[in-house]
Amino acid sequence: MTSTAAPADLAGAGPAARSSTWLVPCAVVAMTAILVAAFWDFSWHRSVGRDTFFTPPHCVLYFGAVLACFTSAFAVLRATTDVAGVSDGVGVFGLRGPLGAFVTGWGGVTMLTAGIFDDWWHGAYGLDILIQSLPHMAIFTGMLGVAGGGLLLAVSRANTVPERATRARAVIAYMGGVWLTLVLAGFLEQMFVYLMHGARFYCVVALTVPGILSAVSRASRLPYGASATALVYTVCTWLAIAVLPSFSTAPRLGPVFHPVDHFVPPPFPILVLPPALALDWLRPRLAERSLWVRAGLEGSAFLLLFAALQWPFASFLQTPWADNRFFVGNEFAFFQAAGSLPVRRLFYATEASALQFWLGLGLSLVLAVVTTSLGIAAGEWLRKLQR
């Protein structure tokens, strides 16, 4: 039987809890650095192309990883060696510290190790321009670890320090939004506009978004937790759209098929905010239902509303009306050939037949329900996080 009563104040708390006062801000800085680096590096690949170990976005990424590693290591060492204090934090192979610190540190070590692997990979298989290579996915896993650890730190702080809960919950929504943004960045190659009339796109969204929104909204205890998380994703993405093209650059790799004279921004954010609002509206009204009823209704509502909005919006993004600094419908990488589907504003059928398409949409519905159930369970677990 677990006890979830929180200590009254921080002064009597153990070393792990005390370290959360500076660990959480450090985690926010690390996560923000990683997010900035992710947007910048993606743009760098599409605008400049030339990729070395120490490009500016890579340096920002290493900063985030190193900050996560060092602050977590410091917190764990302090908690482990403070034998006179209250035994708090969790134990991992003889070390003690906040759970979030272990996860953040793990994420940082994974990122740096994967970076070494990625450098070797380029020498063995050539310089890559893909997001989804094996070492990139390992780096991506580390990034999610850093972000996830930060989220755990903020959640445990909100759960254990009621006086600071309001600010901590806002931090949870921000970190959840960063987490969502990073996850979607990892699947960007399946989420370009010209793929948005295929079932695969909706499967990817169903696999990622509703689960995260469900977990973060419950963990934050905010009435509009899902909406806040979705808003963070939307604002962060659109800030990248607004800022990046302000800086001029030129491709440094051939062949160049599309002239580029500034940093190419990411695609317009997908419309997760309206279905997130629907989730926030549904959640209290389904609070007494079983897990699978909640997951079924919330997951279905999310996906159906999302599809109803995103499908026509994708068509709009393919028109000349989207060719402006706000919707960035006319922004392409330098390696995008003039005759390619994206440049010609044509959709690509990711399924070979109508049957496969509808089966794919059916699969996306199932995925939305399953991931929502996992998100609900994770959110409930996070609400009880103490260490």
Partner: protein, 487 residues
């Protein structure tokens, strides 16, 4: 025909030696000596070892008016757009030497576009560079050990953290850990281990798949098969194993011939032939052989595809005594002392009584650009002064390592086949000015007694150099053995 002869002809083994048949064998560096407009330039380019990868260029000039060199790598086909060029870095120890790195991103043929700026204006030069991906690299033991240890720590860390989360994360500080929690934690760690193991297995499969795709892109040379018919005519068949858009019937003439064939008797390298087989049908060539003694002959066939990709195809053939026919056209042949014979120092005699000398004499070093100068003198030691172009060049040089691991066909302009060079010079929308045309063979030259070849020996070892010049309508071949030391 006597049965024995027929048997030998039929047994004229056609060894398709599937060696590294890039342009030249075992000598990947591109060396070019010419000019960009008014600025003399010597260029050496080391192609990338992997594709995509980095090529490294070294440029030397003798000009005092050259201020800067911009350099960029682009595909050899005319481009509508080009990446921003890099400024070559001037060597602090030698202000007339510049270096640059070039990013070569796709397999095929690329060109290095050199833009020289100075007080005499702007001029461009384009040098073809092959982008031929090799086999995927192998991880060193040290790095594999380091990454293995780190990966083990990361996996153990993930399992331990998941267990800790289940065991204690929801307990208030100071609360004892219930037995239920410990059991749940152990179960979670077991499940996590299985999941992580599956993920690692999937990752290993992905790695294998990537390596397989890279191997599929690895350069595969055009195969060459050779055989002799009973009339003493040599036939050669080209077969493409499938690599990019290359075909065996898309060849372009290189100074007048679709194929330049060097044949040397091995292992002594005591017979050398420089032949120009005729096209019989798409991908098939034939040529009458001159009189030849029996033996095993290594064949090196230089071709250039329409894309500008240059290849040297390799094969071997066991020949009987060939009665042969007189040499025709630009063909040449010579018998020379074998490499096992102690190397003679000083001038070597040529067939017309003149002599040829190699400068510099003495020890040469690998990986160092140099100029191999051959001087022809008459029997009295006076410079002949009457060398004439042989297939548009003042001379041709074949560099063959004694262990046959290197073969390069070099011209006074370097190792770049002229046909590939011409393809690279086609200007496009991204050129600032028309590229410098290749040297015009019809241009009148002052009487010549010597010819120089820019070259870069790829590795230490012993090499035989076959230098060919032409005087009085006769092709003359001199053979030299050199010892090349480590860099």
């Amino acid at each position: 025909m006597r049965p024995a002869t027929l048997f030998l002809c039929l047994c004229a083994s056609t060894f398709a030696v599937m060696s590294d048949a890039r342009a030249h064998i075992g000598s990947p560096d591109i060396v070019y000596e010419g000019s960009a407009g008014p600025y003399p330039l010597s260029v050496a380019v080391a192609p990338p070892e992997t594709v995509p990868g980095l090529a490294r260029a070294t440029l030397r000039t003798t000009s005092d008016t050259l201020d800067a060199i911009e350099i960029v790598g682009v595909p050899i086909e005319p481009q509508d757009h080009a990446p921003r060029a890099d400024l070559a870095v001037r060597d602090p120890g030698d202000p007339k030497t510049f270096t640059a790195s070039l990013w070569i991103m796709t397999p095929g043929t690329w060109k290095v576009r050199v833009r020289a700026r100075g007080r005499d204006g702007v001029a461009e030069l384009a040098i073809p560079v092959p982008a031929l991906p090799g086999a995927p690299g192998v991880m060193s033991t040290e790095l594999a050990l380091l990454l293995g240890i780190l990966a083990a720590l990361i996996v153990a860390g993930a399992v331990g953290i998941l267990g800790a989360a289940q065991r204690e994360a929801q307990l208030v500080p100071g609360a004892p850990i219930p037995a239920d929690n410990r059991r749940r934690a152990r179960r979670s760690m077991l499940v996590a281990s299985a999941v992580i193991g599956s993920v690692l297995l999937a990752g290993a499969t992905w790695w294998d798949d990537t390596a397989g795709r890279h191997r599929a892109l690895s350069y595969r040379p055009t195969a060459l098969t050779a055989w002799l018919d009973d009339a003493g005519r040599l036939f050669l068949a080209l077969e493409d194993p499938g690599w990019l858009a290359r075909r065996p019937d898309d060849l372009v003439p290189d100074h007048g011939h679709l194929m330049h064939l060097y044949a040397v008797r091995v292992p002594g390298l005591d017979r050398v032939l420089h032949l120009h087989p005729d096209l019989q049908s798409p991908g098939r060539f034939g040529r009458d052989l001159p009189a030849l003694p029996s033996g095993r002959y290594r064949l090196f066939a230089d071709i250039v595809h329409a894309s500008g990709l240059a290849e040297t195809l390799v094969s071997e053939i066991e020949l009987p005594d060939v009665p042969g026919r007189p040499l025709a056209g630009d063909d040449s042949a010579r018998a020379v002392p074998g490499i096992s014979t102690p190397a003679a120092s000083g001038p070597v005699p040529l067939d017309d009584g003149s002599r040829m000398t190699l400068e510099p004499a003495g020890t040469l070093r690998a990986r160092r650009p140099l100029s191999l100068k051959f001087r022809v003198t008459d029997a009295n030691g006076a410079a002949v002064g009457d060398l004439v172009p042989y297939m548009g060049m003042l001379g041709h040089l074949a560099v063959i390592a004694h262990d046959l691991g290197t073969f390069t066909h070099v011209h006074p302009s370097g190792t770049v086949p002229m046909a590939a060079f011409s393809v690279a010079q086609a200007s496009d929308a991204t050129s600032e000015c028309a590229p410098t045309p290749p040297d015009d063979p019809a241009r009148a030259r002052p009487p010549a007694s010597e010819v120089a070849f820019p070259y870069l020996f790829p590795r230490a070892g012993r090499y035989r150099l076959f230098a060919q010049v032409k005087r009085a309508g006769r092709v003359l071949t001199g053979a030299f053995d050199v010892q090349v030391s480590a860099p």
